[in-house]
Symmetry: C2
Subunit: 437 residues, 2 copies
């Protein structure tokens, strides 16, 4: 008998079918037992006798039986197959499992983070945790869709680099055939080099930061979603990033709305016009709203980000707010200073519900100015030779932006730690297992 996907059983009432999946929970009531079986399409209640009682969570099984309509008062409208159940006639165990170290049948796995990660291959199977990565997959799908609509070509760029991408010490060193090499800190320089080739590019790329600190919002290995666009001015860049950001969020709400509901996430507020503020304007609003005077600070701190997002929601009915004109010295060397006030730069961050999920800028596209900017930061242009080559042979006005995949996932589902938003998170304490074990 051919396998039937669980989602298709609702169309087969009265028919014999074979399903295959994993056992989520088993409940025995005297001689009768119920098992929830999960496959990639959904979850189904199976009714049976001793055959089912034998089953334990995470066993993989094939079950043949008849699809029956449930009596209306027994229907479960929370799941797609809630109107039917399978009456088991033949149960085949394909693969057994060790005893569960915790209750996988609980609606929420209330585990401390270290346990959640120590048992990562198991905790990921929990429906609520699995939902995080269904949302993540939809975020990336949305990114590609809207970056594609901007006319970007997808590029694949290297992660092994001859020098530290943007300077700084937070870089992983690789023994590369006896030579010193580094894991790229971002796809930044390579995507810029490709603007003269494709004009507009996007990439989904790994980035590595040897952050020697443990925070709730940093990982050592992250996934970035980057765009870089030629012949676009500062306003055009903001239009583009807001188009993609709004697109991503709407796409997730459309495709994975059930997971968002499961996480009690309010409906998204994405107005046609995303509010834009300079950093200085944002600081003034914060002063007015809270009395806290950060108007001399060189950046927004996490509390500022939360407050200005609150303002955007209350005053502009927007979950997004774009902050521009960060101090030139606080941004990377390739950031274009504002010609009207070079102390500040043509840069932006996008805040989503209080967290920065995107960063970017218009870039310095003049070879000489770029060499000067590198030197001013105390770096050696020789370490940027391939990058500089692309400016020597012509580079139009250009800029771009970069989304942090794990960050958006974290914020969208209101997770308390970015580690929960990575299938197998890497930080200074852990590569799958903790080093200290």
């Amino acid at each position: 008998m051919e396998r039937t996907l669980i989602a298709d059983t609702v169309k087969k009432v009265g028919e014999k079918v074979k399903i295959a999946g994993s056992v989520h929970v088993v409940r025995a009531h005297g001689k009768i037992a119920f098992a929830d079986i999960t496959d990639r399409s959904g979850v189904l209640q199976v009714v049976g006798g001793d055959d089912l009682v034998e089953l334990k969570p995470q066993y993989f099984v094939e079950i043949e039986g008849t699809v029956n309509a449930r009596p209306p008062q027994m229907a479960n409208d929370k799941i797609k197959t809630g109107s039917v159940e399978l009456s088991a006639e033949k149960v085949t165990i394909l693969s057994k499992s060790d005893e569960m170290p915790f209750d996988m049948g609980a609606e929420v796995l209330n585990l401390e983070l270290p346990t959640l990660l120590d048992y990562r291959t198991l905790t990921l199977r929990h429906p609520k945790i699995k939902g995080i990565f269904e949302v993540q997959s939809a975020i990336v799908e949305g990114f590609r869709k809207f970056a594609g609509e901007l006319g970007c070509t997808e590029i694949f760029i290297p992660t092994i680099s001859a020098s530290a991408t943007e300077g700084g010490a937070e870089v992983f060193e690789v023994d590369y055939y006896g030579h010193k090499a580094f894991m790229t800190q971002s796809p930044q320089l390579y995507k810029q080099m490709l603007v003269p080739v494709f004009e507009r590019v996007f990439t989904i790329a790994k980035a590595y930061r040897a952050e020697p600190s443990v925070t709730t919002r940093h990982l050592s290995e992250v996934t970035q979603m980057d765009c870089e666009l030629g012949f676009v001015d500062f306003d055009g860049l903001m239009d583009a990033l807001e188009f993609v950001a709004t697109g991503i969020l709407s796409h997730v709400e459309e495709k994975q709305g059930n997971v968002l509901e499961d996480y009690d996430i309010p409906k998204l507020k994405l107005p046609a016009k995303i509010p834009r503020l300079t950093m200085r304007e944002a600081q003034k609003i914060i002063l007015k709203r809270t009395g806290v005077d950060h108007t001399k600070e060189k950046d927004l701190d996490p509390e500022d980000e939360k407050e200005i997002s609150k303002w955007a929601l209350e005053e502009k009915e927007s979950d997004l707010v774009t902050i521009t004109h960060f101090p030139t010295k606080k941004r990377s060397f390739y950031t274009m200073p504002d010609p009207d006030d070079p102390e500040f730069s043509l840069s932006y961050d996008l805040l989503f519900r209080g967290l920065e999920i995107l960063s970017g800028s218009q870039r310095v596209n003049d070879y000489g100015k770029l060499v000067d900017a590198i030197k001013e930061r105390g770096m050696d242009p020789k370490n940027f030779e391939m990058y500089l080559q692309s400016f020597k042979y012509g580079m139009p006005q250009e800029g771009g932006f970069s989304f942090g995949l794990e960050r958006i996932t974290m914020k969208l589902l209101n997770l308390s730690n970015v580690r929960e938003a990575s299938l197998f998170p890497r930080d200074m304490e852990r590569v799958d297992f903790r080093f200290s074990r």
Copy 2:
């Protein structure tokens, strides 16, 4: 004036427009000059006077002017805009370029590989080389489309690992906060761990091999396109891989047929039924066709792969042929031995026009057998603890496959070296620039 994309000029005959792009070539004929201007949408002939003569290849420019129909005898039906030209009225140079080190206007850049790579940011701008990566982008798009149709969820997996993925010495070591870590040799183990979570997964992932040799078909950093499917038997796995492979190739022919033509690539031959041979059957066919007796060999060598692809084309009108049942000892530890003849395995390679572009197998999904297989290879199960955890908690029958992105790109365009199929190739001699310089 708003910018008009070059491809849209054909709809604006008689109108004033502004275009922006890079100068491909300039040809001066006395007082009149022609420049080919390129943007992301295409290339356009611009006619003008002194303003154009000033321009040099790889200058980035804005040009305002009037779109005119070309006289029919002057039309160029090789390009989309061949029926029109732009009569320049105002030329603005946005960015200048150094003198070209070679003729970027030539139809083919006849450069030695080292030069091609030393000037990578420039050579990529050549239309014929750029085409390679337009094809590559379409390959990945096709992969995602057809992996998606199989019901796979996209996953993002780590590239930093605590141990060498599949054993062997060809692994890059990373200094990870003072601990020893490695760049993953493939996404293999992680995608398997996620089968009990999502049942079917796909990933586009980086893989690293510290190959201490220089060949025309190996890179140190590659992009893999992987699928892994639960509840699928050996025949089902081959159906799936042939579905995806055929889908990718057809997608490229549909989307980038002009690049294939530019590379003189014959039309693809993709029959509904891709021929399948065991390795032993393939060796017998080779013996019969060529007299070369490799029937005792444990693998197909490159010449064998070419010969059996020739057979597939001549006898089955197919550019693809699936070879199965490689010796168990020649494949990785997770490969399922054939229960009917355990010396051979439930493994497969897919050959495309003489080159292996995919490899995979049904997997050992029993915890005890997997531990034994690891030990038999002289490896320590402790180094596979997270991987083995997923088998302890239940794993259905499963298997998968992996395409090499650069390899397919190389073979599809008949490039002589896989380095030409990577934007910024990494090998033992080079990270952007050669180490020996």
